[in-house]
Symmetry: C3
Subunit: 167 residues, 3 copies
């Protein structure tokens, strides 16, 4: 990880907005984030909207105070990286299984493993607070060590970065 | 709004290409655009392809000289921000209604309100002329105060910006 | 094309990640890439995941050593730019035909023609090696003159560019 920390205009800083929970898009985000981190860039990934589902715990604690709608969102959306759909050729969930198999066969890491690598490499994960509010996802339902922040925080980081992608 | 106007290399300028007419993506674009404008950045949003539908008037005037195909596009595509689909869990239009309700419950502005805020904050809206030609959308069918321009104009603005996202 | 070649920090360099094989998104990528190249910018397009299908030959040579899964991917995914689906209103392939007709009527080039223009203008095409491995696509199945490279190569180019979009 970069030793420049968070002080401004670090040449190699990168940010990625992970908006989607589609396996293929999430994969693209992590491949780029991990490659950048491996090259000593400072990397921040912002998980917003459906992308929040990537950070959900498989077995989240029970949380009070959700509306019926938020409970419905919670049940219908994927819990964590193991059950993400594909954007194309999803075939009711068969596509992602085949894709995972093809990745394994080529010794490409799974998204679970990529998340672990990202964290080991010091990639910062930020969950979008507005999306959390709308979908009723609470911090304790997300994997540990996530920062929760809003659009202004994203923009401040993007201002310091030389690559900002919306995946 | 920035007092730097349009003269080059304004540090905080941002551009957003709104390609999609999916409610969730459009929302992401406006949240970022409005947050940047609130921080005094100069912001331009380019509406292209399906994204043009965000700018369509609810009750557009009758326009002559469209091909049958263009009339068909016009009828089938959403008229303005109130009828945008969701990229996931659309459920034949029920999903967007539920999402709107969830947003309202969390005091998140509707896309209609975000458009109004963007304009009040001086965010520039540009409609892509090539997409307008292909889909047969005329300037008078779009909300007032939109600039119509092409890819070269986008690139010139992006060259001056420090954040350019394709949403 | 720029006479600055590939040496660092060329002000006007642009990169585009073409992740999708949806006709409308591919179109957006080529319109921007070609407009930038026409303005003497150095342009690199990275084709990854479904985007690889844009580069597939219509009649690829037979290739040995594919797994059953890779053969299945090969059969099911589009062969080249003539058979790309639309992201919206695809209607089992009728949508893209109508869109092509609308483009032709407005004298907008087809994707086939845009690819040709891009190459004439010196736009560099790069195919993502990891995606090729996973989907079992071999270099000889892609159109000629493509470079094959990975995420690190993309990041190095993006570091030199002032516009990087994920389409």
């Amino acid at each position: 990880m970069s030793d420049n920390g968070t002080n401004g205009n670090h040449k190699g800083k990168k940010t990625f907005i992970v908006f989607s929970d589609e396996m293929d898009k999430v994969l693209a985000g992590f491949v780029l984030a991990n490659a950048a981190a491996a090259m000593d860039d400072e990397v921040t990934m912002f998980f917003t909207f459906w992308g929040l589902n990537v950070l959900r715990k498989k077995h989240p604690p029970h949380v009070n105070g959700k509306t019926g709608l938020q409970r419905m969102f919670g049940v219908m959306m994927p819990h964590g990286p193991s059950h993400l759909p594909l954007s194309h050729m999803n075939f009711a969930g068969v596509g992602p299984k085949l894709m995972s198999k093809a990745m394994q066969h080529q010794h490409v890491a799974s998204i679970d493993e990529m998340i672990e690598t990202a964290r080991e490499q010091g990639v910062k994960f930020v969950a979008c607070t507005m999306s959390m509010d709308v979908m009723g996802i609470k911090e304790e339902e997300l994997i540990d060590g996530i920062e929760c922040a809003g659009a202004a925080s994203y923009l401040a980081e993007a201002d310091e970065a030389n690559l900002n992608l919306f995946v």
